[in-house]
Amino acid sequence: MEFRTFDSEYVKRLTAGDPETEAHFHTYFTQFLSLKLRSRRIDADAAGDVRQETLYRVLKVLRVGNGVANPERFGAFVNSVCRNVLLETGRKAARSPDAGEDPPEIPDRTIDLERSLITSERKRVVAKILDELPAKDREILRMVFFEEADRDEICRRLNVEPGHLRVLLHRAKARFQAAGVRGGRIVSQILMVLCNGFTTNVTTR
């Protein structure tokens, strides 16, 4: 993903429907929102709905609403919209846990982002990185990511400092980045194709 700062020009282009900016918007914020929602352990289906509703509301504010007051903090604006959607979703679920209100009318273009994160090429690179680690470090990562064991328990059993986990992940991530695994681009391309339809839908609603 290319480096890009958000500014009034970006927001202006997105409001006008510039395809390149739209593609960046969808790619960047789909990834961001997926990370955010995954960190809250929200299941894939619900996360897909929240993502779509958030992106839809942001575009609606830009195109038929008042726009954003501070374009330099556009990302923070998207984040706050997502927070509102999450709160509303939580409230709805609390009000009627069995039969919620009708879902948004956006067609289901949910991408299984969890699955798109995992590819055979990336797995091959990650397996190589893991194989090159000392056996103990490999076991630590296995317990963290596969067994999802309690961190204190891991540290106690394997006699390591809590910070060691982070260091391990940090080094492994650096090697993973250095391997330059393709895929972000593939995800971007998929998103670009999908976002064309999505955007059309948003503008005609």
């Binding site: 993903m1 290319e2 961001f32 990302g75 990511f145 596969f146 980045q177």
Partner: protein, 228 residues
């Protein structure tokens, strides 16, 4: 945590790793997300950590599955009893069945081919008819054949050779005809299995493919008579 908007400090303090490992307190997580939403550098770093974690989890899951398979296989081999040879096994049964079916197919195919290509048909099993071309035959040339007959031989005059031929018979579906039989000849003899047909009229149509389209060569009604 004081992150401000300095992504160098964020990366130095390994905040993306803390985020992926779930080590941030709720307000730290909110603050970090607020920053990441506007910082593509931190976003890239966070995405890489997340991607590594997801793929590492998948690699370990694959390993666990492979290990479980191996263990199950080993356990299956060890737990074999003296009576195991009596237990039906899918592979040898299917393989044996496959060989039998293949042999049957070859045998039947050979028989049908031989019947179809023998010019002098055995009178006790077949009845022969000359089918007139469509222009002369009119709609209803009837070829009556007794149900006791196994085959009917239909002879067609060919005005020209075709690349391939096929026929359709009500109640028996459509079948291709081996074109080699007609090559170099002005007639095409077709032997049709009638023993499986119900008594009554069955429309028979023969067509030839000239490379561009199917051309109708002849048709008749094959009447299977119950008492004949």
């Amino acid at each position: 945590m004081s992150m401000g908007l300095d992504h160098d400090a964020i990366i130095r303090s390994q905040t993306p790793e803390k985020y992926v490992l779930g080590e941030l307190l709720p307000h730290e997580r909110e603050e970090f997300e607020e920053h990441v939403a506007d910082c593509t550098i931190c976003m890239q770093d966070l995405a890489a950590a997340d991607m590594f974690a997801a793929n590492a989890s998948a690699v370990f899951a694959d390993e666990a599955a492979a290990l479980a398979n191996k263990s199950a296989k080993a356990a299956g081999e060890k737990s074999g009893s003296w009576f195991d040879f009596l237990r039906p096994r899918a592979f040898p049964v299917l393989a044996f069945s496959g060989v039998l079916n293949l042999a049957l197919l070859v045998f039947v195919g050979y028989g049908v081919t031989r019947m179809a290509t023998v010019p002098e048909l055995r009178p006790e099993v077949a009845e022969a008819f000359t089918v007139r071309p469509p222009a002369r035959s009119g709609p209803g040339q009837v070829c009556a054949v007794g149900r006791s007959r196994s085959f009917a031989t239909l002879q067609f005059d060919l005005s020209r050779p075709y690349q391939r031929y096929s026929y359709s018979l009500d109640g028996a579906g459509q079948s291709p005809v081996n074109a080699a039989r007609a090559s170099g000849s002005e007639t095409l003899n077709l032997t049709v299995l009638v023993s499986g047909l119900k008594p009554g009229d069955h429309k028979f149509e023969l067509s030839g493919w000239d490379g561009q389209r199917n051309v109708e060569i002849g048709e008749c009604i094959l009447r299977v008579e119950p008492g004949k």
